[in-house]
Each structure stands twice: as structure tokens, then as C-alpha cells.
């Protein structure tokens, strides 16, 4: 019971107010804790927006989730590591339980990492989970990025999210590198030494940059505490911030979906966030955690005790960065030495700088601008919520595979020494081979991929027109043989015919009214050329009339009354496309 007197003299005047109050109270369906919280935060509206969101289901949509979960796992285990890790380069004598290092003078960072590994309960497992999760994080990001690229999910309105994703992906590798450098073992020190060399390769200001970053000459005592702040504070904060924006944008845009019956550009077919999707996603978190924990329990990662403490004089065979930095290392191994020269009294080490300083920003800029580039070339200003099947955009798919090839060649080049020893080959020959492949591989991959896509499209077309091959051979009374083709269901057919097949742009007016070539025309010409490049080879999906003709053709051995029924189901499909195209 309320302590406020309900019957006050002026109540009559305020009847309307109270009614509004009443309504508000009644409309609130929430009770218990949820209601309590909503009364204080007003979160219910936002929450119900989120919880009613529908998510389409497909395994490839879970790649991003793998990235998200492994990042969360890194955050959790990283917090554990901070309790014991000492970010300091000051020397101490190791006297922990790892025998082959007893009595050796090492840095405090290294000692504390050894202690985490050998003397703190569960420490090694957590360290290994942290590091394996970091590797999984970077793998998942790349594969997720590939999914988004090849399905065209970056198209309007999702370009910004693509850019955010690219930045996340770049920061993830920087974050990983910072972490890898913390334990101050032989490999991380070698990595830092390499990083110092990279900075010095920047013309003219290089040595200043290096002195600034390391707080003096290499290695110094400043770098580990600095990297620590970057690794546990700065980059995680940026990562979490960008990641939140990334996810919010996904909610805002709604998830894309693969083409299928009933799935249009204006709906999302799937399960609501609550309860189905949240249960699945929550379950998937535990699966990812479980898989990473299993790997970490069974397989060593970064055995820093074996590497030994960092000391600038030794270096070990097999000094490689973690895999996500491998491509940059590979670029260094492939760049020829003649790119280093002296001019104006300065040494220009482009053999180092191109791979170490320029490669990553250039690569990520290209990745980041791709959606805008493609939109410009196609002139497509519509929103896209239905994904492309990769084969239906052969040029984009080809470009993607070419880029992957470039990346993979660099990646393998960074393991050239191990490949040489394991395959009994000469490291010099392997390096030459990779130097060749880096130029030849991508165009070749582009060409092959595009051809494959086109023939897949052609196969799809055949399938739509003549049905699926059944492997059953009929023999007619006149001795003729024929394979039976089974008709597709309307659902199956819809997937194969729903896509658009743009034609290359054609320039209409080359010159302006006065017959003068305008600069705009020049730009347009470039655009037309690119559009030609994208769309000149095209396999259009069968039109309804082609379909009709094929079915009345009657050579596919299937009874004729059935196609009629299919036609009825199939026709609306094409209709919808046309409708889509209009809006």
C-alpha cells in the first residue's frame, strides 16, 4: 500500500494525469527483476528490440561469432595473466622450478612468465589458452572476412561495418604482436629486434622513430612496460569499442541471408534472438571455449622456456612471428636486396621498408576501400540484404581468390626455411619460386577462379533448364539411349535463377555538347572499362521463357504434366526479382 494519500483535494483537476500514469503502469508487462531494472534504466525497449531480432542460420554466419568468442576468451585469460605477469626488463636470477634455466640471469618479465608456466597453478594452461585463443581469433577474423567478401555482404548499407571490420582485423594482429613481445624470450626479443630494424628502415627519420619507441637504444628497459600498456589497455579498449560498434551495426542493418525461397531483400528468415538464437549462441561460446581449452591442454604453444631468455647476441633457427604476422615476414624474405641503396648520404632500405612498414597499411587500405570501388564500378546504389552466391559474381570472386593467393604466397614464404629442411629443397630455389609466384600466382588464380565460376553458372543453367542428372539410363524401343533428368523442385530452382546478371556499362555521350572531351567522360570511360572487366563474361540465368521452351522441348524424359506444376511455382520467383529490381 502506498503511503501517499490517494484522495487529495485537487485530484479531480489532475484526473487526466493519473490516467496516463495508470496506462503506463498497465502497459508495462515486466515484473520481477526485469521490471525493476527497466523502471530504473528504461532498458526494456532496447532489449526487446535486440531480443526480437531474427537471425538467419548458416554455419558461415558463425565465423564472426568464433572471432567474438575467442576475443572474449583472450580478455578473460589475459586478465588472469596480469595478476602475475611483471612487465619489467630489470634483470633477476631465475630460481624457479624449470631446471635448465636455474641460475641464469633473465628479465623479470621472462621470470614471471616462467613462473606462470611452472609455479602457478593452472598458469600454463591459461597461458596456452590465451595464446591459442589469440591465434584462433586471427584465423576466425580472416575467414569471417572472406565469407563477407565472397558473398558480397559488404555492399550497401554495410560498407561502414566492412571498414570497421578491416580495422579490427589489423588491430588484432598488432595486439597479437604486442602480446607475443611481452614475455621477453628469445623469439619475442628477436621479433622486437626485427621491429626495431623496420622502424629504422623508414628513410631519414627511422632512427629517431626507433629511439622514440624504445626510449633509447635497443633493447633498453622501456619497451616492455610500454608494450604492456598497449597490449592490456590501449588496444583492448579500442578493440572492444570497435567490436561493439560492429555488432550494433549488425543489429541495426539486420543480418543478411542466403537466397532461398521466401527470403527476400526485405525480410529476414530465421530464428528470433530470444530464446532460440541466444541459446545457440551461448552454446556455441562454450563449444569454442571448449575446443580452445582442449587444444591448449594438449598442445604446447610458445614454449618460452625452450626458447630461453632474450639476449641480443643469440638468435635461433626457426625464428618466426606468430602466423598472423607471417605474411609480412614472408614479404621481407622475398624482397630483393638491391632495393637498398645509398643516396644523398642516406641509406634507403626499401627492401625492408616495403614489407615491414608499407605492406600492412596498403593492404588494409585496399581492403577497406573495396566496397566503395565496386559500388562505383557497378553504379549500384541499392541496398542488398540477400547474399550473392560467389559463383554469380565471378570477377569479384576472382579478385578475392587472387588476393588470397597473394597473401598465401607471402605466408608460405615466411616458412621457406622449414619447408626447405622438411622437403629437402634448397632455400634459395624456394625463395626464387615464391618471388615468381607472387607475380604469377594472383593473375593465374584470378583467371582460373573466374573460369570455374562461369562454368558453375553454366552448370546451374543446364540444371534449371534440363533438370538434375539422375544417372538412370533409359533405352527406348528403337534402341535409343537417354539419361533421365529429374526436374528440380521450385525451391531448388529459385536458388539457381534468383540472381541478377548485370551487363557492362556502356558510355552514351563521350563528348559534351561542344564536342569537347570532358574530364568526366574520361572518368566514365575508366568506369566503363572496369565495368567491362567485371561483367563482360556473363552467364545469365535462364529467363522464364527459356525455361518454358526447355520444358516443352520434352527431351528430358520426364513426364510433361509435372513441369506445368513447377512452372506455376517457379513463375512467381522471377516476378519477385522484377519487383525487387524496381524498388
Amino acid at each position: 500500500m502506498s503511503t501517499i494519500n490517494a484522495d487529495r483535494p485537487a485530484d479531480a483537476l489532475r484526473a487526466g494525469d493519473r490516467q496516463a500514469d495508470q496506462e503506463r503502469a498497465e502497459s508495462k508487462p515486466l515484473g520481477g527483476i526485469a521490471g525493476w531494472l527497466d523502471d530504473r534504466t528504461g532498458a526494456a525497449k532496447g532489449m526487446s528490440f535486440v531480443l526480437k531480432k531474427v537471425f538467419p542460420d548458416h554455419w558461415s554466419f558463425m565465423l564472426g561469432e568464433i572471432a567474438m568468442y575467442s576475443m572474449i576468451i583472450c580478455l578473460l585469460t589475459g586478465a588472469f595473466l596480469t595478476f602475475w605477469f611483471v612487465p619489467s626488463a630489470s634483470p633477476v636470477v631465475y630460481d624457479g622450478s624449470y631446471i635448465p634455466l636455474q641460475g641464469v640471469t633473465v628479465s623479470d618479465a621472462y621470470r614471471s612468465t616462467l613462473d606462470i608456466s611452472f609455479d602457478i597453478r593452472g598458469g600454463l594452461l591459461i597461458r596456452q589458452i590465451h595464446h591459442w585463443a589469440a591465434l584462433v581469433f586471427c584465423v576466425a577474423i580472416l575467414v569471417h572476412m572472406g565469407r563477407v567478401f565472397f558473398t558480397g555482404a559488404f555492399r550497401k548499407p554495410r560498407e561502414i561495418n566492412w571498414v570497421i571490420g578491416s580495422i579490427l582485423s589489423m588491430l588484432a594482429i598488432v595486439e597479437g604482436f604486442a602480446g607475443y613481445s611481452l614475455p621477453d624470450d628469445l623469439l619475442s626479443g628477436t621479433g622486437l629486434r626485427a621491429a626495431e630494424g623496420f622502424m629504422r628502415s623508414i628513410p631519414i627519420i627511422g632512427s629517431y622513430v626507433s629511439y622514440f619507441v624504445f626510449g633509447g637504444a635497443f633493447p633498453g628497459e622501456a619497451i616492455i612496460p610500454r608494450l604492456y600498456a598497449v597490449h592490456v589497455l590501449l588496444l583492448p579498449a579500442i578493440l572492444v569499442g570497435l567490436f561493439t560498434a560492429h555488432i550494433l551495426l549488425v543489429f541495426l542493418h539486420k543480418h543478411t541471408q542466403y537466397p532461398g525461397p521466401g527470403k527476400t531483400n526485405n525480410n529476414v528468415v530465421g530464428f528470433p534472438m530470444m530464446p532460440v538464437y541466444i541459446a545457440k549462441a551461448g552454446g556455441f561460446f562454450f563449444i569454442v571455449f571448449g575446443v580452445i581449452a582442449l587444444i591448449s591442454a594438449l598442445v604446447t604453444i610458445n614454449p618460452i622456456w625452450g626458447y630461453g631468455p632474450y639476449d641480443p647476441s643469440p638468435v635461433t633457427a626457426g625464428s618466426q612471428p606468430d602466423w598472423y604476422m607471417g605474411f609480412a615476414d614472408g614479404a621481407l624474405r622475398l624482397l630483393p636486396g638491391f632495393l637498398e641503396f645509398t643516396a644523398f648520404g642516406y641509406t634507403f632500405s626499401f627492401n625492408v621498408m616495403i614489407g615491414a612498414i608499407l605492406l600492412i597499411p596498403i593492404m588494409y587500405t585496399l581492403i577497406g576501400v573495396y566496397p566503395f570501388f565496386e559500388a562505383w564500378v557497378t553504379g549500384d546504389k541499392r541496398e542488398h540484404h540477400l547474399l550473392d552466391r560467389p559463383r554469380n559474381n565471378p570477377t569479384r570472386t576472382g579478385i578475392g581468390v587472387a588476393a588470397m593467393t597473394f597473401y598465401i604466397v607471402l605466408f608460405f614464404a615466411s616458412g621457406n626455411d622449414l619447408m626447405a629442411i622438411k622437403l629437402h629443397l634448397s632455400i634459395n630455389d624456394l625463395t626464387r619460386l615464391f618471388q615468381l609466384l607472387i607475380f604469377v600466382g594472383p593473375p593465374l588464380a584470378f583467371w582460373i577462379t573466374k573460369r570455374i565460376c562461369l562454368s558453375l553458372q553454366r552448370a546451374d543453367r543446364q540444371k534449371v533448364l534440363h533438370g538434375r542428372e539422375t544417372g538412370v539410363i533409359w533405352r527406348y524401343p528403337d534402341g535409343r539411349f537417354e539419361e533421365i533428368h529429374a526436374p528440380l523442385t521450385p525451391q531448388e530452382r529459385w536458388v539457381l535463377v534468383q540472381h541478377e546478371s548485370p551487363e557492362p556499362l556502356v558510355i552514351t555521350a563521350e563528348t559534351d555538347a561542344n564536342g569537347v572531351e570532358s574530364p568526366i567522360a574520361r572518368k566514365e570511360r575508366l568506369r566503363a572499362k572496369l565495368s567491362h572487366f567485371y561483367f563482360k563474361d556473363r552467364v545469365a540465368p535462364p529467363t522464364p521463357s527459356e525455361l518454358e521452351a526447355a520444358h516443352h522441348h520434352g527431351d528430358h524424359g520426364v513426364e510433361t504434366h509435372e513441369p506445368e506444376a513447377i512452372e506455376a511455382g517457379g513463375a512467381p520467383a522471377r516476378e519477385t526479382i522484377k519487383a525487387d529490381r524496381q524498388n
Binding site: 641460475g103 591465434l135 545457440k280 594438449l298 647476441s313 638468435v315 618466426q320 607471417g326 622449414l418
Partner: protein, 277 residues
């Protein structure tokens, strides 16, 4: 005594003194000098047997007097250690032209210990060189907190010092865990697991092929013993972190996470995706 004193000025005394002096220094030298000088002490029979074996198996490449030919280097002065290492690990006799002679499995080694040591004796007789090491330096130091006689470091600390020496001198070719590494043009530094302490020692003193020689001035015999003990300790240690993936560093971890980790996770994702349908 008096008699001796009386003859002190005898002219022969000086000659006698010189003789004694020579004997003492010679004997002391023979006793104290590095072992190489002892190599000639083996019996002439052994050397002869070694020479016969050499003529039958090695002379085609190394020449009848081990002076070297176009297909094999001179062995004068390489010492017994080099022969013991090369033949004992199965590298020699070389099977055929190859970028680098390779270690063979024990059952493929063509000679028994006695034959090897006679060939070693023969080669050592051609010119002084490092000899087969004393077993004192090839016994592996056992981990523990105790100190061995004449040592001021505990066994654990000596093993740790071996690790430091290894990282400074050897890891750049042989990898941090002795897993091996690539050199130029198809040459490589082999994995050091399973190599006997004696062969490890001999590899250091003889410097096979692309490997530098680590003589007693570079790394003292005791330090060599520490390096060997470190490598054995690494071999014997339980892998606390789990499977080592060949101790090849981040590359094998990367391969693993792509091939195994990703496959497993995508498998789970596909399974979950299926559950819905």
C-alpha cells in the same frame, strides 16, 4: 751424497742434466699435452688394419694416401674425431654425390667400433688433429642440486650454462631445441635428438661440413660437456605444455590452428547450423 757432489763438475754431468731435463719435459708434455699427441701411441697393427680398410672403402674418393681427390677432401690432419664422427654416424663412406652427407640409421652403419677406431687411428697417424674425446667429457651431467667434484656450480646450474652456450653458439643453425634448421642451397643443420654424446663432442671439435669448428679455446671440454648435457636434458624433459609439434616454433603452431583448430570449429558450427533445420 758426497760422491755425487764430488762428481758435480764432471763434464758428462751437463749432458746428463740436459738429458734428464728433456726426458722430464718430454714426459710431462706427453702427459699433459692435448690428447692428439697421444694418437700415435696406438699400435702399428691397428694403423695398418685401418689403412687397409681405408684403401678398400675410402681411397676412391679421398685418395690412396688420404691426400684428397676431386671427389673427396684431404683427410690429413682432420684427426680421429672426424673419422669417428663421419663413419660412426654413417655419413661416410659417402653413398654418392649429395648436397650434404647425411646421418644414417644405426643398422645402416657399415663398420663396427673396432674397424672405425682403426681407420681413425690410420687417419690420425697422417697428421695431428682432434682425437676421440675422453669419456670424462661425454658423460651426461645428471640434473640435481648436488655439485660434482671440482665444480663450483650445481649440476642444474651447469646444465643451464650449457643452455646459454648452446643458444649463443648453436641455436642459430640447429634451432633453440636442437630441432634443426635450414642453411643455404639445400644444406641444413640436422636435428640433434638421438645423437650420442660422443658424436656431439666430435661434431664440435671437427666441424663437419658447414658447421664451424669449436676447439678447446672456443668452448672448453667442460663446457662442451655442459652443452651435451643440456641437449640431453631437453630431450629427456617431459613436455609440460603437451605435444610439441616438432619444436619448430610459430610456423607449426600456425599450421595447427588452421588445419586442426579451424576445421574443428567449423565442424561444430556446421553441426549447430544443422540442428536448426
Amino acid at each position: 751424497m758426497n760422491a755425487l757432489a764430488a762428481r758435480r763438475r764432471h763434464p758428462a754431468a751437463i749432458a746428463l742434466l740436459i738429458l734428464v731435463g728433456l726426458l722430464v719435459t718430454g714426459g710431462a708434455y706427453a702427459f699433459l699435452a692435448p690428447k692428439e699427441a697421444n694418437a700415435s701411441a696406438v699400435s702399428a697393427d691397428t694403423v695398418a688394419e685401418g689403412k687397409n680398410l681405408f684403401l678398400a672403402n675410402c681411397a676412391s674418393c679421398h685418395g690412396t694416401n688420404a691426400q684428397g681427390t676431386a671427389s673427396g677432401p684431404s683427410l690429413v690432419g682432420v684427426g680421429a674425431a672426424a673419422v669417428d664422427f663421419q663413419v660412426g654416424t654413417g655419413r661416410m663412406p659417402l653413398a654418392g654425390p649429395n648436397i650434404q652427407a647425411q646421418r644414417q640409421d644405426v643398422d645402416k652403419i657399415k663398420f663396427d667400433d673396432q674397424q672405425i677406431s682403426s681407420m681413425a687411428a690410420y687417419v690420425a697417424s697422417l697428421g695431428a688433429g682432434p682425437s676421440v674425446p675422453d669419456s670424462q667429457y661425454t658423460t651426461v651431467i645428471q640434473p640435481g642440486d648436488q655439485k660434482e667434484a671440482g665444480q663450483d656450480l650445481t649440476n642444474n646450474q651447469r646444465i643451464a650454462r650449457g643452455g646459454e652456450i648452446f643458444r649463443v653458439n648453436c641455436a642459430m643453425c640447429h634451432n633453440f631445441a636442437g630441432a634443426g634448421g635450414a642453411l643455404t642451397r639445400g644444406k641444413y643443420a640436422p636435428s640433434l635428438t638421438g645423437v650420442t654424446p660422443k658424436h656431439m663432442y666430435e661434431a664440435m671439435v671437427s666441424g663437419p661440413q658447414s658447421m664451424p669448428v669449436f676447439n678447446d679455446q672456443n668452448i672448453s671440454p667442460e663446457s662442451k660437456q655442459e652443452v651435451i648435457s643440456y641437449l640431453k636434458a631437453v630431450d629427456n624433459q617431459t613436455n609440460v605444455g603437451g605435444l610439441t609439434l616438432g619444436n619448430l616454433g610459430p610456423v607449426s603452431e600456425g599450421m595447427f590452428v588452421w588445419l586442426f583448430g579451424l576445421t574443428l570449429l567449423i565442424g561444430c558450427a556446421v553441426w549447430l547450423g544443422k540442428k536448426a533445420a
